[in-house]
Structures are given as structure tokens and as C-alpha cells.
């Protein structure tokens, strides 16, 4: 073993330090905004600490193009969530300092997961991420729904963790190593692709990650948790842990089980179709926007799963492009909801949006962009994301699958456009109580970043797509 290269794990170390420091500072700093700002500075430092030459740490942890892209996603997700939360937690009367530390810890967990090459580190990262998120989901302590969400999330999460542990132990028992690369090689050279124990282990992995990314039929927890959790945490959860789940899912499938691709690709295809079907159809019937967005995020998980089906580089690139764009539009949509929430006004049913274009034309336009982007209509980013997934599918001769997916995305227009319809084409029967909006500079900043990126990635996607290709060629 060569000397340990600490520059590879510098960002994670910085974030950990920031997280713990904030726990301490929370005792002395009374105004929680300062904690948020300090955390943001820490995140920024972590950004600059990326060692873009790549490398590994003790053979357990690698920093390559793949993990780099995902870590960028996690850090942007973290920063946007912090910006969203400052005012929201105050409005909800639950402003406490650990909140930001937990966000940071959860993100460190995700970063560990995507870089891990060892099952044990994957597990550690997974638990760090999940445990922090459980607490975050229940962070409005006086709200029954929030507590319920946390409990549900915890129970379901614990289940899926147990399942993945079982899968890991089977894998270790059969191959005698924890390193996913070596596992893949072992299976390949010993011709173990048909081994029933390995098949079971593979299925257990798929089930467990299915829970994490809320793929149907393992999605039952998602709508309730997303609806009950504080909206800022929902925004965080629907992007970060989900992207991390996908990152590890893709990595494990492609490195540990490449010789069993026929088996898992068929299962993933089925999961993806089911996920799109249920996500899109059930979203049609929702009257709460938060719940609608929860189902929509299930549906989007279906599209992302499709990127795994061809098991190709292009598919992986598609997944990353999709998740990167999805982050902005999804957080953007949630940020609009947060903006509409005030102390005595929940503002999360469709009816609450009636006539919004008249009272708050600017917010309505922003929401409109996010809705069209989630539908996948050019010139918004959502289109580019879907396009890259579909392209990888058709390259791999999965025309029919692409066709099914694309028809589902046409169905999704119904419920996204309903939001637009309520905002622009309806007037409330009783005038909306003018409760104002909970405006703040941080929220505006988060929203403008999301808006600008959603549009930019649609009109000028060349930067993102070309640079991802280059990254993969050079690191």
C-alpha cells in the first residue's frame, strides 16, 4: 500500500469538520442564519478542495470522473437546500442549528457512497446518509405529519438496509472479497454468472436500491414521507439521496455484476416501466402539489432507471446528465412551494394556486418554466435530460422501451400542465387571503439559480454535455 493521499478525501474531511463545528457553534450562536452562512462557506471550501487529478485512498475510496460529477451534484444540492431552508425553518418555527449539520453529514454520507469501492464503505456511507435524513424528515418536532414521515422513513429505510446487508454477506460469502471490482472479476473468471447465491444477492441489491430510489413496487414510503417532511427537506431528499442511490446502484451493477447483465437488465427494465406507469398515473390523481411532486419524482426515477438498462457508457452519461438537470428543476419547483408557505397558509394544494398569475405574476412564470421542464418540453433543461437517456436507449436497440417511456412523458404533461392551468387560467371563487409570501434573499437566490440553470441547460446544454464527455476521457 502506498502512502495515504489525503488530498483525495479533503472535501469530505472539510465537510465533516464543518458539520461538527456547527454542532458546537450552535450552542453559542443564537441567530441560526449565521450558522447557515458559515455552513455555506464550508461547502464552498469543499468545492475548491476537489483534487481533479483523481486518485484513491487506501484502495477503499477512489476519486474519479464518475464520483466527481455526483459529488458536484451533492454539493450543489446541499447549497441550494441550505438557501431554501433559512427562512422556511423560521416560518415553521423550528429553526435549530443541528439541522444544517445533519444536512452536511448526510451529504458526506452520499459522497462516501459514490467514491467507495468496498462494500463496507458503501454501507457506512449509506447509513450516514440515511440516518441523518431520517432525523431531518422529522425536524419539525411539533408537527405530527413530520414525525410520522420520519418514523415511516426510518422503518422502511431500516428494512432496506437489512436487505442490502444480507445481499452483501451473500456476496462476500461466495467471492471472499469486499472490493466490488474484485467481486466482478471473480465472478467473471470463475464463470459464476449463473450461481443461485449470487443471483439472490443481486436481487437483494436491486430491491434495496429500489427502496432508496423509490422505484415501484418499493415506493410506498415515498409519497407520505415527501408530503410529511418539511418542504426544504423534501427538496433535499428528492434529489440527493436519490442521486446517491442511483450512483451506487449503477456502480455496483456495472462493476460487481457485469457478467450478469442479462439478468439484471431485464429486472431493471421491468422496474423502470412499472415505476413510470405508477408514478405518472397516480400523480394524475393528486390534489396536493407536494404529493404530486412526490409521485412525479417517482416517475422521474423510472426514466433514470432506463439509463441503466443498456449498461453502456452512454447510458451512464445519460443518467448523470438527467440527474444534474433534474436537481435544478425539482428544487426549483419545491422552492416555489416554500415561497408560498407562510405562517398561517400552507399553500400546497392545487386550489391554492388559483389566480396566482394575477397576484404574483413573477412567481407564476417561474413555476411555469419548472413545470414545462419537468414535462420535458424544449427549450428547457428537462428535454435535454430525457433526450440523453432516450438516445442511449435507442443506441442499444431498445426502441420500444424508448417509445413506452416517451409516451409516459406525454402523459405527465397532464398533471404538470394542470399546475399551469390553475395558475393562469382559473380565478379563485373567493379571493385568496392576501397572506403575502415568505420572501427572503436566500430563497430568491436559490430560485434564480435553479431558474437560470434550468433554462441555460436547455438552451445551451453544450457546456454540460461536452465537459462530461471530456471528463470521462481524461480522468
Amino acid at each position: 500500500m502506498q502512502g495515504l493521499d489525503f488530498s483525495v478525501i479533503a472535501p469530505e474531511l472539510i465537510l465533516l469538520a464543518v458539520g461538527m463545528l456547527m454542532l458546537l457553534l450552535e450552542l453559542v450562536i443564537k441567530r441560526k442564519e449565521y450558522i447557515a452562512v458559515l455552513t455555506l462557506i464550508g461547502v464552498l471550501a469543499a468545492f475548491f478542495a476537489f483534487n481533479i487529478r483523481g486518485g484513491d485512498f487506501a484502495g477503499l475510496f477512489v476519486f474519479d470522473a464518475y464520483s466527481y460529477v455526483f459529488k458536484v451534484i451533492f454539493l450543489i444540492n446541499l447549497s441550494l437546500t441550505i438557501l431554501l431552508s433559512i427562512n422556511y425553518m423560521k416560518v415553521k418555527g423550528s429553526s435549530f442549528g443541528e439541522y444544517y449539520s445533519l444536512l452536511v453529514f448526510s451529504t458526506v454520507g452520499m459522497m462516501l457512497m459514490v467514491s467507495a469501492t468496498n462494500l463496507l464503505i458503501i454501507y457506512l456511507g449509506l447509513e450516514l446518509m440515511a440516518l441523518s435524513t431520517y432525523i431531518l424528515a422529522g425536524s419539525i418536532r411539533h408537527d405530527k405529519c413530520s414525525t410520522e414521515a420520519a418514523l415511516k422513513y426510518f422503518l422502511m429505510g431500516a428494512f432496506s438496509t437489512a436487505i442490502i446487508l444480507y445481499g452483501m454477506s451473500l456476496l462476500y460469502g461466495t467471492t471472499g472479497t469486499m472490493d466490488i471490482g474484485k467481486i466482478g472479476a471473480y465472478i467473471h473468471y470463475n464463470g459464476l454468472a449463473g450461481n443461485p447465491l449470487l443471483l439472490i444477492s443481486m436481487v437483494l441489491f436491486i430491491v434495496s436500491f429500489g427502496f432508496k430510489v423509490a422505484a415501484v413496487p418499493f415506493h410506498m414510503w415515498a409519497p407520505d414521507v415527501y408530503e410529511g417532511a418539511p418542504t426544504s427537506v423534501t427538496a433535499f431528499m428528492s434529489v440527493g439521496p436519490k442521486a446517491a442511490g442511483f450512483a451506487v446502484f449503477v456502480k455496483v451493477m456495472l462493476t460487481a455484476f457485469p457478467s450478469m447483465v442479462d439478468n439484471w437488465s431485464a429486472i431493471v427494465t421491468g422496474l423502470a416501466i412499472l415505476t413510470m406507469l405508477v408514478g405518472n398515473l397516480v400523480a394524475l390523481a393528486q390534489s396536493s402539489i407536494k404529493r404530486m411532486l412526490a409521485y412525479s419524482s417517482i416517475a422521474h426515477a423510472g426514466y433514470v432507471l432506463l439509463g441503466l438498462v443498456p449498461a453502456s457508457d452512454e447510458g451512464v452519461l445519460g443518467i448523470m446528465t438527467y440527474l444534474f438537470i433534474y436537481m435544478f428543476m425539482n428544487i426549483g419547483a419545491f422552492s416555489v412551494l416554500i415561497l408560498l408557505t407562510t405562517q398561517d397558509y400552507k399553500g400546497d394544494t392545487l386550489k391554492d394556486l388559483e389566480g396566482l398569475a394575477k397576484t404574483h405574476p413573477f412567481i407564476a412564470v417561474i413555476m411555469l418554466v419548472f413545470m414545462f421542464s419537468l414535462t420535458g418540453i424544449p427549450p428547457t433543461g428537462g428535454f435535454i435530460g430525457k433526450f440523453s437517456i432516450f438516445m442511449s436507449l435507442i443506441h442499444a436497440q431498445h426502441q420500444w422501451l424508448a417509445m413506452i417511456a416517451i409516451l409516459f412523458s406525454a402523459i405527465s404533461a397532464f398533471y404538470y400542465l394542470r399546475v399551469v392551468m390553475y395558475m393562469y387560467m382559473r380565478q379563485p371563487e373567493v379571493a385568496r387571503p392576501d397572506t403575502g409570501i415568505s420572501d427572503s434573499f436566500a430563497l430568491r437566490l436559490a430560485m434564480s439559480i435553479s431558474l437560470v440553470m434550468t433554462l441555460m441547460l436547455g438552451i445551451m446544454p453544450q457546456r454540460l454535455i461536452d465537459s462530461m464527455r471530456h471528463l470521462f476521457r481524461f480522468i
Binding site: F383, A413, F414, Q462
Partner: protein
């Protein structure tokens, strides 16, 4: 001959950037916003004058070409250019947009800012659709215009607007996404989105058929061809006047344009093989659309259904796959844009005064609004296809071409002209003659602004009717090249097949 400035990009982006500028202005400055919309659209119209003058009629090559790399790793380019097939559509789009701004000047009172932004955004993307030579770029514009169009119908439309808007959106979206699949399949085969390079591909017949049907889904919804036409009457009827005009004059032409630009040259064998099906659908649309018109009690809906019938003529011409048919089809696209656009403008003019679209609420309008009824009869006659108006030239050429391909189709189709005469003249009689209906007594005749709006269309009706050569000569070379390509290709390949 090309201009020394990027004329097509200016045509596309002046409206779009104008829309951006308007977005920055406070919504209280309604007059300023309207003026910007007017300046933007007149500037675009002025720019199309050098386009018209510098267009080289003798060349089938793309003109005013601009290309640069856009997304390198996907091989997507910003590639625009026009030829005889698109030039007139670009001109018509520019003209339509300014008329739409003018007709909405006083009639749109709610959310003025959003409305005019939507209009100029539609204008930019319409022109973009007709200029794009890269299929990816084409698709972006094609889909992008759905957003403002959906809003125009849904926000400023009639009572049933929400239903009409979502129906329009979903129909078009489903068609378009199927086309997207076909675009990606083409990309996988040719590794490019560049139309000129894609034309050099030799696709196997089975694949051509599949791709033809996928493209058909998008184009047939837009045209709209017979079984897929049901969104049209709703959308056209419920849309505000400007929306109906854009829909009728430009948007539904995009489908026919798509057949000419993509389906025929890319999949010639499939196009030839499917000619009987396409001709049948066209003839059904002509007759069925015409018959439905006869039983409409709603003024605007009648004109909307007449579009189904007229567009049936256009597709009949296109799928005749000979010079007369395709030239007639192209010319009829322009004619229909002018005439139906004008009819919708006329309806808008009276609707603003009476707020009813029921034919039964009118009667004797000729003595109340004499100038208006004089203008209206010209457009009615053009719609029927009376010699001396533009409608005659187009339909005549189409029937000529159609007869050469399939006499039966042409014979049945020509009955559509008679049906057209029946419903249009009967409409005119019920609205303008008969006893004066009390509800409309005392209406003001057309204002100078309204005359200004209708006048250019009137001039075009007569110009094309009397001297179509100006326009046909612009189409001729490109259409000949297209037909050579369709038949030449098919011929070559059937020969190699036999070997």
C-alpha cells in the same frame, strides 16, 4: 446571392429577444409593451423583404445558410437555411405575426404583457421551424412553440378554453414525441442530425416504413389529417382571434411542410408505397370536413372545420408526388394561410362587436356593415376557389396533379369544392343577407385599423389569383429537385434490389 448579414438568425432571434425585452418591462406599461411587439414584428417583416428580393429562384440549393457547431458531442449544429419549399412560409409567418399584433391591440385587456410576449415567441419559433436544417434544432423549435401556443389558447380563449388548450397540447405532444424517437433512430444510423448529410443515407425499406409512420404521427396531427383532426375545431374555435389566425395560417402548415421537408426526401420508398393510404385519408378529410361544415351553427367552428377540408387538398397534392400536385399543395398552403387567416380576422372583428359566434344571431349584416361584407365576400370566394382568386390556382394545380396520380381520388376530391361552395355561400347568405337581426342593428363598420389589417391579405388573394407566377417561380426549382429525389431514389433502389 446571399446577404452579408445573418438574415435568418435575425428573423428568428429578433422576436425571441424582443420577447425577453418585453419581459423586463413593468406590466403597467401596457402601451409600451404593445409598441415593442409592433416594432419587433414590423422589423421582422421588413427583414423578410431583402429575403424575398435576394432569393435566387433558379437554384434548388439552400440559401442564406448559416451553420455552426452547437453541441459537439452529439454532433448537433445550429444550421439554418431556406429553399423554395420554405421561403414563402417564412414570409407568411412574418406577415401573420404583425397582423396578430395589430388585431389584438385593443381586444386583449387581461395579462397584456404575457400575451404579446407569447405572440412574438411564437413568431420566432415558427420562423425557426421553417429555417432549421438540423433535425435537432427543428425539433426544439417545433416543440418550443407549443408552450406559448398552449398559453394563448388557454388563457385568452373562449369559455371552453381550458379543455381545448390541453387537448391541443396533448395531441401535438404525443405526435411530436413519436417523431423524436424517429429522429434519434435516424441519428443512430447516420450519426448526425444534419439534414443534408442524412439525405445521403440509404435506409432499408422496413426502417423507412417505421420512420415514416413515426414522422407521420407528428405531421398528421399538425396538418391535421383525417382521424387525428379532432383537436383542431376545439382549439381554433376557442382560441382568441390572434391565436386562431396563427393556428390556421402557420401552425397547421408546419405539418404539411414537415412532409415535404422530411418524410418525402428521407423515406422516398415508404412515401411511394404509402401513397394510396395517404390519398385516401386526404380525400376523406376533404369530403368529411366539408360535410361537417354544413351542419355547424357556430360561425368560427365552421371555418375551423373548413380547414380540415382544405388541408385535405394540400396533402392530396403533396402525395400526388408530381410537380403539379406538390406545387399546388405548397401554393395552397400559402393560400389557405391567407384566406383562412383573413376569415378568422373577420370573425374576430364582428365578434368584438357582438360577442356571439352563433350564426343564428346574425342576419342582414350586409346593410349594417357594408364595407366589411364586401371584404368578406372576397375571402369567401377565395375560400371556395373562384377563378381570379388564389384559391382557384392552388386547387386547380392540386387536382391536376391528383388526377395524374389517381383519377378516382381527384374526382371525389373535386366534389369537395362543390361542398365548399355550398357551406361558404350558405354561411354568407345567413349572416349577411336575410332580414336584419335586431341584435346586430347599429354595429359600426370596420375601422381604418381593421382595413389596414385586411388589406395586405386582400392584395395577396388577388395577386396570386391573377399572377401566380411570382410565387410559383420561387417554388419550382426546389420542387423539381424534390421530385427527382423521391422518384430517382426509388428507381435506383428498386433497380439495385432486382440485381
Amino acid at each position: 446571392m446571399t446577404a452579408n448579414y445573418p438574415i435568418l438568425s435575425l428573423l428568428i432571434f429578433i422576436p425571441i429577444l424582443g420577447g425577453g425585452l418585453m419581459a423586463l418591462i413593468s406590466r403597467r406599461q401596457e402601451t409600451l409593451i404593445k409598441w415593442i411587439a409592433l416594432v419587433v414584428s414590423s422589423f421582422t417583416l421588413l427583414l423578410s423583404v431583402p429575403l424575398f428580393k435576394n432569393f435566387d429562384k433558379g437554384s434548388a440549393q439552400l440559401q442564406f445558410v448559416e451553420r455552426s457547431v452547437w453541441i459537439e458531442s452529439w454532433n448537433v449544429q445550429y444550421y439554418v437555411g431556406i429553399d423554395g419549399i420554405s421561403v414563402l412560409m417564412v414570409l407568411l409567418s412574418a406577415l401573420t405575426a404583425i397582423l396578430c399584433v395589430l388585431i389584438s391591440w385593443n381586444t386583449i385587456k387581461d395579462k397584456v404583457k404575457e400575451f404579446f410576449i407569447a405572440i412574438v415567441l411564437v413568431e420566432g419559433s415558427m420562423i425557426g421551424v421553417f429555417c432549421s436544417m438540423d433535425i435537432f434544432l427543428f425539433y426544439i423549435f417545433w416543440e418550443a412553440m407549443l408552450i406559448p401556443m398552449y398559453l394563448i389558447v388557454g388563457i385568452w380563449g373562449g369559455n371552453n378554453r381550458i379543455y381545448a388548450a390541453i387537448k391541443f397540447f396533448i395531441y401535438t405532444l404525443v405526435g411530436s414525441v413519436l417523431m423524436l424517437i424517429a429522429i434519434i433512430i435516424l441519428y443512430v444510423h447516420g450519426n448526425t442530425f444534419d439534414l443534408t448529410s442524412l439525405l445521403t443515407l440509404h435506409l432499408p425499406y422496413k426502417l423507412q416504413l417505421l420512420l415514416f409512420w413515426l414522422f407521420f404521427a407528428a405531421f398528421a396531427v399538425k396538418v391535421p389529417m383525417f382521424p387525428l383532426h379532432t383537436w383542431l375545431p376545439d382549439a381554433h374555435t376557442e382560441a382568441p382571434t390572434a391565436g386562431s389566425v396563427i393556428l390556421a395560417a402557420i401552425l397547421i402548415k408546419m405539418g404539411a411542410y414537415g412532409f415535404l421537408r422530411f418524410s418525402l426526401p428521407l423515406f422516398p420508398q415508404a412515401a411511394i408505397a404509402l401513397t394510396p393510404t395517404m390519398l385516401t385519408l386526404s380525400v376523406i378529410a376533404i369530403v368529411y370536413g366539408g360535410l361537417i361544415c354544413m351542419v355547424q351553427s357556430d360561425f368560427k367552428r365552421l371555418i375551423a372545420y373548413s380547414s380540415v377540408s382544405h388541408m385535405g387538398f394540400v396533402t392530396l397534392g403533396i402525395f400526388s408526388l408530381n410537380i403539379n400536385g406538390i406545387e399546388g399543395g405548397l401554393l395552397q398552403m400559402i393560400n389557405h394561410g391567407i384566406v383562412t387567416g383573413a376569415l378568422f380576422l373577420c370573425i374576430g372583428i364582428v365578434y368584438d362587436r357582438t360577442h356571439t359566434r352563433q350564426i343564428a344571431d346574425y342576419g342582414g349584416l350586409a346593410s349594417v356593415m357594408p364595407i366589411f361584407s364586401a371584404l368578406f365576400i372576397v375571402f369567401t370566394l377565395a375560400s371556395i376557389g373562384l377563378p381570379g382568386t388564389n384559391g382557384f390556382i392552388g386547387e386547380f394545380l392540386i387536382l391536376l396533379g391528383g388526377f395524374a396520380r389517381s383519377p378516382i381520388a381527384a374526382i371525389i376530391a373535386s366534389s369537395g369544392i362543390i361542398i365548399g361552395a355550398i357551406y361558404m355561400l350558405w354561411l354568407y347568405q345567413r349572416v349577411f343577407f336575410t332580414a336584419i337581426n335586431e341584435k346586430i342593428r347599429g354595429l359600426k363598420d370596420v375601422t381604418p385599423l381593421e382595413i389596414v389589417i385586411l388589406l395586405p391579405l386582400l392584395v395577396l388573394v388577388l395577386w396570386i389569383g391573377v399572377y401566380p407566377e411570382t410565387f410559383i417561380s420561387m417554388l419550382n426549382t426546389s420542387v423539381t429537385a424534390l421530385i427527382d429525389r423521391v422518384h430517382g431514389n426509388a428507381l435506383n433502389e428498386s433497380l439495385t434490389w432486382r440485381q
